[in-house]
Every structure is written in structure tokens, then in C-alpha cells.
């Protein structure tokens, strides 16, 4: 591989037709992921984080208009013909979905689906070889009795087991990039940690780069090297995990961190950010976080700030300097 990053997204935009003209769900995001690193994308529902990933994998409905650039190993994914991107999807790029129950075909056994994934990209492999590979994969994600398990249907698996199987399937063709869209959201808290550990271990062992999409800062905390915080279809702050957690310069990130209950402090009330994210049909003209921001001033409703270097992180906030250097605000 050359020195170019594994995945390089520049000014990615995705818009859908709305009742009065197109509405943009993703409004120009820039992200970079180096090989075998983990990038966390954090944001609330509707912040555009999943749409952005689906846009670059061409999984959005054909009514969506996508522009910008997304280079995977130097190849432009945006606008790539369907025939060509099919060779990459499931082979070089693996996907893990939020709900492992609905992400499996309910009428095929888990084994059959992994075999399908293998044979889709390796037409020469025999059924028998593909089966033993599938069993191997199931074993590698710590599924006990993989031989028997391969013959079972998705509904016979528990939630955590299903997500393990999903990971096994995503790894089937030894991808170099794994896109995990809320991989633990549908799981019990106790299982979440196991799944995250497993993903981290496998990604490290195999040198897989990973984009981890989540609304849970706690999920990316121990996993990601870099974090991008998304709000209203844009990246509002990006930096290394450490910088984001301890040195944030954006009031939204600050709010997110403050909303995480802390173990060190006794809390009676859970902290939240007042209000709801703006509807994509009626975005405020200026900073989209302004209506909920405790620091908002009249100028915030007029100009939508660009990302700029403030202190250590890249921040899109007009008043970032005032926050800079305050360190972690709560706890």
C-alpha cells in the first residue's frame, strides 16, 4: 500500500428530495482514516452519521444525490459503477449493522449466509472449503460449537451471538476496512463490552481499519484513536480521542461528555442537552446547534461556522476560543 490513507472523505454531501426542494442530510464532511486505525463517529440520531457511511457505500436509495469525494485506497467510491463497487463491498469493505437479527436473512442458516458471503467474492472455492472456512470464522469470534452453530438459523442465536456471527461474516473476505454502524446499540450492556473487545482484538490482529459509528461516547472511548463529532449533518469537532475527551472546544461535545454519568461522582439527576436536534427540513440558518446551545449569541444564528483549528482540536464554533483550555468541564 502507498502512503495514502485507507479512507479519505472530502466534502461529502448527500441530499434527498423533499416536499420543497432537496434536503441535505450530510452537508460536506471531511474525514480521514489511516490503515489499521479506528475512527469513531459520534452523534445523535439524525446527525447524518449513518447516511454519510451509506452514501459512500452507495447504499442509499437512488433518489439521493451524493457529491464530494470518498477515496478508498486511492479509488474514488462516489460515482463508481455499481458493477465495480460490488467487487469491493463485502470483500475489501465489511459492514456490521446495528440490529444483528434483522441484518440476517431469517430463512437461511448462519452457516449458509457466511458461505454465501465467501463464495460471492471467491467463485472458485468449493462448498466444502467455504463451509470449513465459515466454521473457522465462527470459532474466531468465540462462538462455541461452531460446527453445530453454523447449521442453526438466526432466531436460534442470542443477540450477542448474532452480533458475533455478523462480525464473522464481515471478516469473511479479509477486508481492510470495517464499517460498524452502531454495532452494540441493540445489545445488552453486559454483552456490549464483550463485542467491543472482540472487535478491537480482531481489528488489531488483522490490521483492519475501522469506522465506528455510535451515539455512545463510552463506546468509542476505549476503541478509537480519532473521533469526529457530528451534528446536523456536519462534523462539528474532530481530534484524537484524548483531545475530544479532555480538551474539547465545542459546546455540543462538552454537553455530550457532561451527559455521561460519572462513576466518581454521585449524581441524582442525569444531565442532558435541552431540546432536540433540528429537523432536516427546517435547519436554522446559522450554526445548527445554536438553538440548543447555552453559549449561543445572536451571531450564532447568522453564520454557520467552518471547522478551524482551536487549541488542539478542529472545531466548528464561533466561541470555541472561550471554551478552549477549560479542560474537561464536568467531573
Amino acid at each position: 500500500m502507498t502512503g495514502s490513507p485507507l479512507l479519505e472523505i472530502r466534502d461529502l454531501r448527500a441530499a434527498f428530495p423533499g416536499p420543497s426542494g432537496p434536503v441535505e442530510a450530510v452537508r460536506g464532511i471531511d474525514l480521514t482514516l489511516e490503515a489499521s486505525e479506528v475512527l469513531g463517529i459520534v452523534g445523535e440520531s439524525g446527525s447524518g452519521k449513518s447516511v454519510a457511511m451509506m452514501a459512500l457505500l452507495q447504499l442509499l436509495p437512488s433518489t439521493a444525490t451524493i457529491s464530494g469525494s470518498a477515496r478508498f485506497k486511492g479509488q474514488e467510491l462516489i460515482g463508481m459503477p455499481r458493477r465495480e463497487i460490488r467487487q469491493i463491498l463485502g470483500k475489501d469493505i465489511g459492514c456490521i449493522f446495528q440490529d444483528p437479527l434483522s441484518a440476517f436473512n431469517p430463512v437461511l442458516t448462519i452457516g449458509a449466509q457466511i458461505i454465501e458471503a465467501i463464495r460471492l467474492h471467491d467463485r472458485k472455492i468449493s462448498k466444502r472449503a467455504a463451509l470449513s472456512r465459515a466454521v473457522e470464522l465462527l470459532a474466531s469470534v468465540s462462538i462455541p460449537q461452531p460446527q453445530q452453530r453454523a447449521r442453526q438459523y438466526p432466531h436460534e442465536f442470542s443477540g450477542g451471538m448474532r452480533q458475533r456471527a455478523m462480525i464473522a461474516m464481515a471478516l469473511a473476505n479479509e477486508p481492510s476496512l470495517l464499517i460498524a454502524d452502531e454495532p452494540t446499540t441493540a445489545l445488552d450492556v453486559t454483552v456490549q463490552a464483550q463485542i467491543l473487545d472482540l472487535m478491537r482484538k480482531l481489528a488489531q490482529e488483522r490490521g483492519i481499519g475501522m469506522v465506528l459509528i455510535t451515539h455512545d461516547l463510552g463506546v468509542v472511548a476505549g476503541m478509537a484513536r480519532d473521533i469526529a463529532v457530528m451534528y446536523g449533518g456536519r462534523v462539528v469537532e474532530t481530534g484524537t480521542a484524548e483531545q475530544i475527551f479532555y480538551d474539547t472546544n465545542h459546546p455540543y461535545t462538552q454537553g455530550l461528555i457532561a451527559a455521561m454519568p460519572s462513576l466518581d461522582q454521585k449524581t441524582d439527576m442525569l444531565v442532558s442537552i435541552e431540546g432536540t436536534p433540528p429537523s432536516i427540513f427546517s435547519r436554522p440558518p446559522g450554526c445548527s446547534f445554536a438553538p440548543r446551545c447555552h453559549m449561543a449569541q445572536p451571531m450564532c444564528g447568522e453564520t454557520d461556522p467552518e471547522l478551524r483549528q482551536v487549541n488542539t482540536t478542529l472545531t466548528a464554533c464561533l466561541r470555541a476560543e472561550e471554551l478552549a483550555g477549560q479542560g474537561r468541564v464536568t467531573a
Partner: protein, 289 residues
Amino acid sequence: MSVASDIAKGDSGKVGQLFNFLNRLPITGKIGIVILLFWTVTVLTVQFWPIADPLMMAARRLQPPSGANWLGTDALGRDVFARTLHGAAYTIPVAVVVVVSAVVIGSVAGAAAGYLGGWTDSIIMRAADVTLSFPPILLAMTVAATLGPGLPNAAVAMIIVWWPIYARLMRAQVLEIRTREHVEAAIAGGAGKTRVLVVHILPLCWTPTLINATMDFGQVALLAASLSFIGLGAVPPSPEWGAMISEGASKFYSWWIAFGPGMAILSVVLATSFLGDGLRDLFDRRGPK
């Protein structure tokens, strides 16, 4: 969905699984199966049964039911009981051919419409709408009359009447299933359009079609008999049920002539309704039992 996989499940004992599945049917559904099994066996073996020749005319005309002629004899002295049983070999195969053809044609058209969308969708579904806008019996009569009397032509007419029902059913299913996450996951795994449709969408679509086809079977048998009744289906002297009832209608005081075929049609329609209802209860676990 889990029921569908219950059936598909297992490398061993598929027959046993099917039996277990059918065993969960309500009693009416089981009665339906028994009746349909009876008629199936009759269709396949009736020519070997030790009953009277359905076409043999005897001097004993218009005899009421007796020990010799269990359901009496018709205006030409033919044994109504034998004719009723032999009649199954006309009506039931026609109903099978019609339902299977309508399901195949309708499902392919509906799946294409739902999956491809756009022009394909518009053309196919408008054709279905036009067909469905006619009363079924009227359209079937018109087509059958145009093609000329005879069971094969009646079958063609009925397929034309029936395919749009399955097209609509399949289209609606495909539209729903294609938005499921596992379809998206398959696309994200690099599967092509055809593969997604055949492997990931269609296997989840057949339940409503199966239930509907079961229920429609009786209706198709009834329509086949209706066409024969008005002389557009089976031609004399075939012992077709509708044609027999037609003969009985002109000899109104010899009630037994129409009784046999009438009860036969009733049993088929009831049996398929029972079975269809039972299957729907088993497949659709959301609804009240």
C-alpha cells in the same frame, strides 16, 4: 418468519416436521386436509373403482336414490354417484392448473413490478388493475366464449382472471421485504440485483401467496363449475360438476341429479377455506387465534 424457517429447517425429518406443523392446525383445517386428500385420491384412482360407468346409459331414468344407484340416475339413466366421483377428475385438475399458473404468472409479474419499479411497475400493475376492474365471472365468460367451449379454454380464461390477485400480493410483499435490513446487508456484502431478489427477498414473500392460493382453490373450482354450468366449460357428456348441476336444474323435481355434484363443490370450497384459514392462523402469529 420463524414458522417459515420451522418448515425449511433440518437436514433430517422434513416429513416429520411438516406433519408436526400440520398437526398444529385447528380441527377445521384438518377436516379440510382430509377432504382434499379424499378428492386427490379420487382423481388419481377413480377409474379403477368398482362403480358404474359414468357414461353408460341405462333404461332406468330419473330414478331416486336407491341401493343400486346411491344418488339416483339422471335423465339419460346414468348413475349420479359414479358421475359425481368421476367429475372430480375434471374440476380438480383444472383448478390445480389454474391456481398454479396464476400463482406463477402473477408472482413473477408482481415481483418484477415491485423490485424493478418505474415503468415496469406501472405497465404491469395497470394491466392488473384493468383486469381486476371487471367482475371475474363476466370476464371469464367473455374470454371463454371468445375462445370457444371446452375445459382448456375455460382454464385459460380463469388464469387471465386470477393472475392479477397474485401480482398485487407479491408486489406488496416484495415492496415490504426489500426495505428490510438484511436486504441492505446483502447489498453491502456485494450481492447483485438478481441474487438479492432470489435469495434474500422472494423466500420471505410466499406465505400470503400460499394462504391465498389455498383459499382460492375452492373459488376457482366453483368458477370452473360455473363456466361449465352455462355451457362454456366442459362439454357433454363429460360428468363435470357444473354441467351436471345444469342438467339437474332442468329436471327440477329430480333433486338428486344436482345434489351429488352440488355437495362435491361445496365440500371442495369449504375444505380449502378451512385449510386456508388454519394456515393463516399458523403463519400469522400476530393476529388472534
